[in-house]
């Protein structure tokens, strides 16, 4: 399994995403924002961080990077793509996922260990979890509030496209406590919390996040 991990100027959790891929026995392939091809990878992770400083809006500049045009094309053809935190924001800006991420309702950056309910275990990235399993992973973001109009929310809810939901008090003002969603096809998943920081209880709260990368392994092997 070869998994591309994109590095934009200002990406931060790219090393962590690469490590998570390795922990799942995959090969992590670094992709550069200026690349015009995906080096034949089986899947792509768009990692967390502050691409281009996130100065205008999170992900607003990164979405236009050359490598993203390749990702958009591949995703539309069914390649598994995971956007974590800033990666989720980029995928939303790139219209691979609906909605937008806005400033946390309490206006502070929030770093905390967060319980999530896995509500959809049929996406390319979540097959290893039981449906409605609860997992504990870090959440760390300043603009993690998920917003979408009523129609979009209904569409997401009605079709099981809410993949992760916050358990307990809402950390950032997300509509419907949404922590992560998928596209209609189930190959593109974006979430604000950081599964790649929960792959080893030594450096994370748990190893609950590893399941996402192992799920991908199954998806890729099956494909």
């Amino acid at each position: 399994m070869r998994v591309g991990v994109i590095t934009f100027p200002g990406s931060l959790d790219d090393v962590d995403a690469q490590r998570a891929v390795r922990y799942a026995d995959g090969e992590a392939v670094p992709l550069w924002h200026g690349d015009h091809d995906l080096k034949g990878v089986d899947a792509v992770v768009v990692p967390g961080g502050f691409s281009y400083g996130d100065y205008l809006r999170c992900g607003a500049i990164a979405r236009f990077a050359p490598v993203m045009q390749e990702v958009i094309e591949a995703a539309n053809k069914g390649m598994p793509v995971l956007g974590i935190c800033n990666g989720f924001q980029i995928l939303a800006e790139a219209h691979l996922l609906p909605g937008a991420l806005t400033r946390n309702h309490k206006l502070h950056f929030v770093c905390r260990d967060q319980w999530l309910a896995v509500e959809n275990n049929t996406t390319a990235w979540t097959t290893r979890y039981d449906r409605n399993a609860e997992i504990l992973v870090p959440l760390k973001s300043g603009e993690g509030g998920y917003q979408a109009d009523e129609d979009t929310l209904k569409e997401l809810e009605d079709n099981g496209r809410v993949v992760f939901r916050y358990v307990g008090d809402n950390p950032n003002g997300s509509r419907n406590n949404i922590a992560g969603i998928t596209n209609a096809r189930g190959n593109v998943v974006g979430l604000m919390p950081h599964p790649e920081h929960a792959i080893d209880a030594l450096t994370g709260p748990t190893d609950d996040g590893l399941g996402m990368f192992l799920s991908l392994l199954d998806t890729v092997v099956k494909a």
């Binding site: 205008l56 809006r57 607003a60 800006e93 609906p98 909605g99 937008a100 806005t102 400033r103 946390n104 309702h105 309490k106 206006l107 509030g145 917003q147 979408a148 109009d149 003002g173």
Partner: protein, 79 residues
């Protein structure tokens, strides 16, 4: 050279925690009479004379604002 101002505001139906925080703080600081505050972004651009209004609108719509959550206005101002 022209000077262009683009204002980007959260859509009315979208929560605006920043504006709300300002509105809540004002009475505490002794300023009464401000009943609502919304906070957005203000851009000042210097643009070449041959950049037309359609291009400016496109810049605002595709880049400076995210139409999912934000409204925008563009106006040319005297330099």
């Amino acid at each position: 050279m022209a000077r262009v101002v683009v204002d980007v505001m959260p859509k009315p139906e979208i929560l605006d925690p920043q504006g709300q925080a300002v509105a809540n703080a004002l009475p505490r600081l002794g300023f009464d009479g401000v009943t609502a505050v919304r906070q957005g972004k203000h851009f000042e651009l210097e643009v070449a004379d041959d950049v037309d209004d359609a291009t400016l609108a496109k810049i605002a719509e595709t880049f400076l604002a995210n139409p999912v959550i934000e409204d925008w206005t563009v106006r040319r101002v005297e330099a």
